[in-house]
């Protein structure tokens, strides 16, 4: 299940646009296994933190209503080429993953 977080960040006219793709099943807990009829346990990202260098620019709180392999794009004022963007997610099982990219 674990994959890396793909991040692309581009700065233009003083605004940085970040696009990211995470790898996660985002299971709501509402679905049932078609063969056994057993409910499939919930397993989804609950929190995503985005940092520009060491500053938090955005924190997302999610439910299982976000689509599988989540896509997230956001913008912030500032940022220049070579600055670091770091995105971390934590899911409802306590697993987490972090990805970084430089602004281009």
């Amino acid at each position: 299940m674990a994959g890396n977080i793909k991040i692309r960040a581009k700065s233009s006219n003083g605004v940085t646009t970040v696009k990211s793709l995470m790898s996660h099943e985002m299971e709501t807990g509402l679905r049932k296994d078609k063969k056994t009829g057993e409910p499939i346990p919930a397993h989804f990202i609950q929190e995503v933190t985005a940092k520009w260098n060491d500053q938090v620019v955005m924190k997302a709180l999610w439910s299982g209503g976000v689509s599988k392999n989540p896509y997230l794009s956001f913008k912030f004022n500032g940022g220049s080429e070579g600055d670091t963007i770091e995105i971390t997610w934590v899911d409802n099982k306590g697993q987490s993953e972090t990805g970084t990219a430089e602004i281009s």
Binding site: V15, T28, L30, R31, K32, D33, K34, I40, Q46, E47, W52, Q55, V56, V57, M58, K59, A60, L61, W62, S63, G64, G65, V66, S67, K68, P70, Y71, L72, S73, F74, K75, F76, N77, G78, V90, N92, K93, G94
Partner: protein, 157 residues
């Protein structure tokens, strides 16, 4: 109004103690409990309850300063692209709800001081319904809604 607030407060404290008991009983590992993940709001069955739990009020003012970009028709409810943007100054957070889902609150984005009020993501929708975006400002909650027709629902088994 007072009653509604009181109910929210009661619900909030009940929820908190339930989580505490679950942790104490070893049902949840502490690592799996995020202190500020709004469990009650995400479990709420309607949009008003979700807003009350998440933001403390369901009083929203519909505003053309909140813009939602979403398809008119979504062929696959499991993946509905939604972009929310606002030109209001001092936006604190953006919340996205799908009114027809059994638990409507999908995501809430807390904006840092340098963040531009813009988020784009993909959500699941169980049925044809409004996508509702709520932007929190110092002057209250601004909202917008956009109907999306869903051909195949994205939450069922």
């Amino acid at each position: 109004m007072i009653d509604a607030k009181r109910r929210t407060l009661l619900k909030g404290s009940l929820g908190a103690s339930a989580v505490g008991v679950a942790v104490g009983a070893g049902l949840l590992t502490p690592g799996a409990v995020l202190a500020n993940w709004p469990k009650e709001a995400f479990a709420a069955k309607d949009t008003d309850a979700a807003l009350n739990d998440l933001l403390g009020t369901d009083a929203t003012e519909s505003s053309d300063k909140v813009k939602i970009k979403a398809p008119d028709i979504a062929e696959n409810g499991a993946v509905v692209p939604v972009t929310v943007e606002s030109d209001v100054s001092g936006a604190k957070s953006i919340s996205i709800m799908a009114a027809g889902n059994s638990t409507p609150l999908i995501a809430s984005f807390e904006l840092g001081e340098d963040a531009v009020p813009f988020v784009s993501t993909r959500i699941k929708m169980a049925e044809t319904a409004d996508v509702i975006a709520v932007v929190k400002t110092d002057d209250g909650l601004l909202s917008a809604a956009k109907p999306v027709k869903v051909t195949i629902g994205g939450c069922g088994g």
